[in-house]
Symmetry: C2
Subunit: 342 residues, 2 copies
DNA sequence: CGCGACAATGTAAACGCTTGCATCGGCGCA
DNA sequence: TGCGCCGATGCAAGCGTTTACATTGTCGCG
């Protein structure tokens, strides 16, 4: 069986019009605003549509109508449950309003993200959801110039002059760090994602430093190690940390997945958590509470964020104005993986 | 700050042509096949493009060129790491060839999936990746009629006359079930996703039945409970199972997430795994080996599947012919969660 | 009975790009 | 010097919609 390029070329509006004995305008109206067409004609047209198996050509439609009912989201990776969940909610909300969501994943590569943003914008997305602030100014200019509404999620920073919905990564992590310090920890290590193009990770690390400084500790004492996303990487990072800084008593990870890896490595090394070493995460993914011991982490309302992001973006498109940025609350989930130092 | 609908309308090919003092044809060629244009002209054109901040209009481009360089994937949910991983690989492979991937998620709803398939097809996707066989025949007809290449992943069933890449869910699960039975289990329960529109789940359940029958057990004795995807749901399902069938000694789950939930519930109920009850999963997601005890499950080469699916689909588009379906091998990862019955 | 208003439909001009074909120089070769 | 060829570029015809505007036919009302 083959896919003839188009042996029977696809039916077009004109074909339908011919068959139904009306003009293309009428067919178009039938499809887009049926109440402008009287019952009998409409029935005839619909039958023709059915018989021909007609489906509108999207490119042509966009070209003529300049609206796609399609929103786009560019996320760093699908393999992170955190984004998956937020985006799922985002899509559900859009769906409720008859909009379609197109997702692209950039695999944490800046160049690729840029390409995808441009692709989605050129494709006429009615609006774009982006993750975090960090990206080339040229992209923002491009988006503004084409007047494509965009919203930044997973970060909230009033200092950044961008419409956004998210939480304050810095202060959330600082809160957690205060708790860690309060438990008596002085030798703290941080396992982070690469911070160079990830403002969320960067802010979280910064949060720890802030709390340390407040407590009279020397922030430059923070042992920092960066590694890509992944359980395995978290494990490796913990081993390296303990090799280089053996007196560490608390390891704060910038996300739960790294923390889970660290947890595993600790156990494999025969360390008891939290008796010998404390470990914390960030995100509160579902398995955080399932781990052994359960992981102390920062809970983030991902679904709420996704849902509200959708509403905001649709508003932006409809009303053509910038919304107020929204700050969501996070809260700390204190679980067994954090305890006093040995 | 506002998003004027288009105060300064976007620059078009014609604008660039005017500024560079060439025809639109030349500009188009500059952008799409630069070697057809001599150096100096090209430079001039590129400068104009730059100055104007020109970006091609995708709709127009598709309309004229009938090729989008875009592939689509419709997955049941992003929240399942299994799909996330496979799709990530799928995208990476496409990216290597300069193609873009658009993803839509159907939240396991048939009607939504259909809508999204149509949307992506109408949008001129060069090819579509679908999950599993189960969907309305009308959709297949539609796709064929529009001659949109499509490939089915995560399932392989020679009986289905569709191009696909995947593994044999039925025999994979049967293999695992044989192992369970071999350990001595006779009272087996199965926690499944809803099987009505999910052939993968259905086949896995069927696999258990086959193994039971082979072993001389009565397949209708299999205690089956269906529940949506999610750890919490897995927990609940386990409790219900044990309430209704208290003599169960092995619980086979159709995916790891449900299994993890079951594991948690067992522990909460004070049962020792596997001493009091054995639990198995399917997929071998990363945390399966991290669980306490580590989960016995079926390992599936998700990334390989994604990567090869991309190649196949690109071939289908280029060569316009149906490929051979590909059957991938799975293998059982025997871990501590499975043991002999008490 | 005639006129205006209005509802239903048709006409045709965009929309922004690609591409087959025509055109135009300039070059090599006899 | 003249011819043919070829590479670079321009011309213009689509591609399949939407939609402003024009046209037609009906109906109610004075």
């Amino acid at each position: 069986m083959d896919y003839p390029p188009h042996d029977t070329p696809l039916p077009t509006l004109a074909d339908v019009a011919r068959l139904a004995n009306v003009s293309t305008a009428t067919v178009s109206r039938c499809l887009n605003s049926p109440d402008q067409v009287v019952g009998e004609t409409r029935k005839r047209v619909m039958k023709a549509v059915e018989d021909l198996g007609y489906a509108p050509n999207f490119g042509a439609k966009t070209l003529a109508a300049k609206q796609t009912n399609t929103f786009g989201a560019i996320i760093p990776t699908m393999e992170n449950a955190v984004f998956a969940r937020g985006i799922q909610a985002f899509q559900e909300e859009l769906g409720r309003h008859g909009k379609t969501l197109l997702i692209a994943s950039s695999a944490y590569q800046e160049a690729l993200e840029e390409e995808q943003i441009r692709a989605l914008a050129a494709r006429g997305a009615d609006g774009l959801l982006l993750i975090g602030y960090h990206r080339d100014q040229a992209i923002y200019d491009y988006l503004r110039r084409r007047s494509v509404p965009y919203l930044i999620a997973w970060s909230y920073d009033p200092a950044q002059d961008q419409p956004s919905i998210g939480f304050d990564n810095k202060s959330a992590m600082a809160d957690l760090a205060r708790l860690v310090i309060q438990q008596g920890h002085r030798r703290i290590a941080c396992i982070s994602a690469p911070i160079v193009s990830n403002d969320r990770a960067r802010d979280r690390v910064e949060g720890i430093r802030i709390a340390m400084t407040e407590a009279g500790l020397d922030a430059s004492d923070l042992w920092l190690i960066q590694t890509p996303y992944g359980i395995e990487n978290g494990s490796t990072a913990l081993r390296e940390t303990l090799a280089a800084a053996p007196d560490t008593t608390a390891v704060m990870c910038v996300n739960d997945v790294l923390a889970l890896g660290a947890l595993r490595a600790s156990k494999e090394m025969g360390l008891r958590v939290p008796a010998d070493i404390s470990i914390t995460g960030f995100d509160d993914i579902e398995i955080a509470s399932l781990a052994e011991p359960a992981l102390t982490t920062v809970h983030v309302p991902h679904r709420e964020m996704g849902r509200r992001a959708a509403s905001m973006l649709m508003q932006m498109f409809k009303r053509r104005e910038l919304p107020e940025s929204v700050r969501l609350e996070t809260d700390i989930r204190l679980r067994r993986s954090l305890g006093p130092p040995p």
